[in-house]
Symmetry: C2
Subunit: 142 residues, 2 copies
DNA sequence: TTCCTTGCAAACGATTTGCATTGGA
DNA sequence: TCCAATGCAAATCGTTTGCAAGGAA
């Protein structure tokens, strides 16, 4: 069993790219986040130039360490990929745009899988994944 | 029973805005679309200036005739609101970014509702809606 | 006449890229 | 040493807005 950092290092090495301090900082920040983060949000937290941040995010997405999440008003937020963060879904506040992770109970998740399968069954479409987004109003915006 | 156009006209009138030819063109285009469309896509189809398109989309969203969908690469696509298009979900091609509507069988939809309720049950979150997005590869990109 | 709406061009915000420099294996 | 990575500034892309002209009630 390896640490997340070791697994990330391996993935990057496989693509022939380095796991530099800037990239480590991004992964670390996203590891402790409770939802996807935008480049700007990481910028505020990390003291790295924006352009480097964008480049790190692109590289990490390329290597499937991160997954992009396209949210309100044209901002892309990133989170650790499923293999690292575990499969989960999102609750999105329609008022402030905040996105929070929800880890769904395995029994419910299994039902959801079954539903997705039933839905795509009739389509000429190869499902590779699914995302359930629950919209609503968060505590703060109540 | 009124036509869609009549209902849209009513909604707009309620907000004190006119249902102009440009706005009609947008609604018509989205009515016959099989998935959300971006301003650029409508521009290619409609011979209206981009800025007018954006303004029409904004007005129609404001009046809850259209709903925005935030997709790949920071582009916002619009579709008719649920009251007009019916509740449905999306299948998104991870390769070309195309988004297609899927109208889910009522029995399955009911199960989905129940699942969403079960999931949000434990959260201090007022759910107002949900969106299931199935990711995969479309026919063309197979 | 009175507002709403439109078109054009300029402004914006998020993201990308060219290029010279730095840094790690 | 050598190539990937970085930082800055300029460029791009999707989208918004100011302002003057056009249109409907």
């Amino acid at each position: 069993m390896q640490t997340l950092d070791q697994q990330v290092a391996q993935r990057l090495a496989a693509s022939g790219v380095r796991y530099t301090s800037g990239r480590r900082a991004v992964v670390k920040a996203l590891t402790s986040a409770d939802g996807p983060r935008s480049a700007q949000e990481l910028f505020d937290e990390l003291d790295l130039p924006l352009s480097s941040l964008y480049r790190s995010l692109a590289v990490l997405e390329e290597s499937e360490v991160l997954t992009p999440h396209h949210g309100t008003r044209g901002v892309t937020r990133y989170e650790l990929a499923e293999w690292a963060a575990g499969h989960h879904h999102h609750v999105v506040c329609g008022s402030c745009g905040t996105v929070d992770d929800v880890h769904v109970d395995p029994a419910l998740e299994a039902e959801l899988e079954r539903l997705v399968a039933a839905i795509t069954d009739s389509l000429s479409f190869q499902p590779t994944g699914h995302a359930l987004e629950v919209e609503g109003r968060c505590d703060a915006c109540r």
